[in-house]
Amino acid sequence: MDSESFDASQVESSNASIKPHIERFKFTGKGGEYFGIWIVNILLTIVTLGIYSAWAKVRNKQYFYGNTYLDGASFEYKATPWQILRGRLVAIVLFAVYLFASSFLPTIGFILAILLFIASPWIIMKSLAFNAHYSYYRNIHFTFHQNIVDSIKTFLIVPILAILPAILVLFGTMFFLENKGSDQSGNIMFFFVGYAAFLILLFLAYPYMVYVANRYVVGNHAFGNQDFKLRLYSPTPVFTIYLKALGLGVACMFLAGLISAAVLGTGFDFEAIQSGNASTTGTKGLLSILLVYLAIGCLYAFIIAFVKARTYNLIYQKTMVGNHKLRAKLKATDLTMLYLTNTLGIALTLGLFIPWAKVRTAHFFANNTALQVFGDLSSFVATQDEYQSAVGEQIGEVFDLDIAL
């Protein structure tokens, strides 16, 4: 890891007299140490029939915050387990209702899912606000400006509008085909063109949603009295990342197709494998199909890592806190290795590797993130405190409504 890409001269300084310097994030946690915390958390959660899970959550977060350093000071998570527990109880009751309703009465489950979708802007906003409010650095807390209108725009209206063209094309195609009658082979062509257009529009919608969500989430954060700014004013760079990933994906699919064809050409019976009837194929065939799947899995992991790393870099590079500037230089290949080794470790140890996986991930992200500091970090001023409820945050957590940015 060299520090070249954190080169301070890259930024155009408005105040030429102050020379910026780079402060790297540092993570000091250790896998073995965290294993003890993790397993005791699970044990006590079980023994207390789940009640300790609130304490577990807080201790987990505190471990990761308290081991993350920037410029000689750590981050601190100050929410209390009691707050979490209260929020969690409400969320669990809702989740149980949802789970049972949807397995017994599919229609009610469907209605609840729609209600959840409608409530998601509020839930996400509350969740971000809670987390920011109890996150401290240098004894000053972060803030998330709660703007419900923007949240609705970001998480409800934009997704619907972005997906709408794709849906319209799909319905248009089907409507056209139905009324035209099925006399020609041209219909099939038309169907494929319509369907391809649908997929392309759907694919284009997602990067735009990512862009809007990042603008909302980053732009509404503040540390002390200084707002975060995301200086990304066009979705084009996000589109570029996803288009490259698509290119990679298509190339991989092509490759996988070639390999499968080669394997199939040697008299390989897929169906026999799937139905568990391998008597005709033997171990050799099974091994080669396994290798093909493995290769596809690795390529798939690389594509995910590519999108994650590039998006992370883009967003962090464009984020400012006051007049300090964030920097990130994740490498997709390194992240792929991290994902693959973590997955392998977790699978081979039946989950006991999870603490090490989490610590390794935290290390990786901290090592590749830095803050370009103008002057020093002591000029942030604390803002007014107000109580934040954990209910929204916990609903988001229990229903898995995380927004992965």
Binding site: G29, F35, G36, V40, L44, S103, Q274, G276, V398
Partner: protein, 387 residues
């Protein structure tokens, strides 16, 4: 004398200043900053709980927050002042090697016991408490869906349908299940359903035309019907649904944020467990077929032959037939909730490979016990009880 190095910030701004906490010989507590020294009372400090070797914070009334990495120092300081010993309790557990090993074992044992005994018990309690209306409703919805998507009216001759109905009535009568209400429907299944028998939550049994053609005798048919009646008498499909829900809920609750693992990894054990429950139910239902046959050795033999036939038939002549020999019954919720697993695990279960190396994997991945084991189940019964 004990000195702890750290930094202090007043909470008004992000300014950090170096500071020291010091305990003197007579247990006096001092805070030294760059410019001055303060005498502190023991009650004015509030330490954070120790978590591994992550940063430690001490709130000091009137001065702000002291931050240090010297965890050992803070622990000694608190010990000397006799303050807040109970807040270090979790850390004592978390850093004790024996306890960690014990915790690992207890946790694994608990998760096992919970899955094998706890979930079924809880599910049974819930299922017993559910009103009949619930299962009626689910069955109606499922049937509506299947009738429109997968079933067509039976194409068997009227006379054959009547015969099957009377076989069914015979089985029902012999099993003497007074409080169980069931009814039989015969339908032609589409290719996905194939030769199949299904038991629905509220008592309806559907067998497909294809099944009646795959069986080689009416004895086999009665055994299969007895098996389905077993599913209904034991409310298997409802139990499977509730068990699935409880298991997912519990996993999400316990491992949710302790693990940080992705949902995909967490749902694997849930799926495996559901399959395990499903296989238990199948074996239970086979018990009803036994009850029906008692020591009718011919019938038991035929059941054994039915399961035994899956091996040879698939590889030899049945592949060319349009009828797929699928799982001879598929519980409705599987076709509902996990459409992806239906065809794979369903077929895998009955098309048992002769290849023994392979059976280890399919044992864990199928909704039904291996046909070979089910064949043995009937054969063993003859040997043990009927000779």
């Amino acid at each position: 004398m004990l000195t702890i190095d750290g930094v202090i910030s007043d909470g008004n701004s992000s300014k950090l200043s170096p500071a020291e906490l010091q305990v003197g010989v007579d247990n006096t507590l001092l805070l030294r900053t760059q410019n001055s020294t303060f005498n502190l009372t023991i009650d004015s400090i509030e330490p954070s709980s120790r978590i591994g070797n992550s940063a430690r914070y001490i709130s000091i009334e009137g001065h702000g927050r002291f931050e240090t990495r010297d965890n050992e120092g803070v622990d000694s300081l608190l010990g000397m002042l006799g303050k807040n010993t109970e807040q270090g309790f979790p850390h004592k557990l978390e850093s004790n090697l024996w306890l960690i090993v014990m915790a690992s074992i207890v946790t694994i044992a608990f998760i096992w016991a919970f899955s094998v005994y706890g979930v079924p018990k809880a599910a049974d309690t819930i299922v017993d408490a559910l009103p009949k209306k619930t299962s009626d409703f689910i069955e109606r919805k499922l049937l509506e869906h299947l009738e429109s998507e997968m079933f067509q009216p039976s194409e068997l001759p009227e006379q054959r349908q009547q015969e099957i109905l009377s076989i069914y009535n015979g089985v029902l009568k012999k099993l003497e299940l007074d409080d169980v209400q069931t009814q039989l429907k015969i339908r032609k299944g589409n290719d996905d359903i194939g030769a199949n028998a299904l038991a629905f939550p509220s008592g309806t049994i559907v067998i497909t035309d294809q099944l009646t053609k795959v069986v080689t005798s009416d004895k086999q048919l009665s055994g299969i019907i007895a098996h389905e009646i077993g599913h209904i008498a034991e409310q298997h499909s409802l139990r499977q649904m509730v068990r699935g829900s409880i298991f997912s809920l519990a996993i999400a609750f316990i491992l949710g944020d302790v693990s940080g693992a992705s949902t995909a990894i967490l749902s694997a054990p849930a799926l495996l467990m559901e399959l395990q429950y499903s296989r238990e139910f199948e074996s239970d239902a086979d018990g009803y077929a036994l009850r029906y046959f008692e020591c009718d050795i011919e019938g038991l033999d035929q059941m054994a032959a039915f399961f035994g036939s899956f091996d040879t038939r698939n590889t030899e002549n049945l592949e060319s037939l349009p009828v797929k020999t699928e799982a001879h019954e598929q519980k409705p919720e599987q076709s509902k909730s996990t459409p992806g697993t239906q065809s794979n695990s369903g077929t895998g279960s009955e098309k048992t490979p002769k290849n023994k190396n392979h059976s280890n994997l399919s044992r864990f991945l199928s909704t039904h016990p291996l046909s070979e084991n089910r064949k043995q189940f009937f054969e063993t019964h003859i040997n043990r009880h009927c000779l």
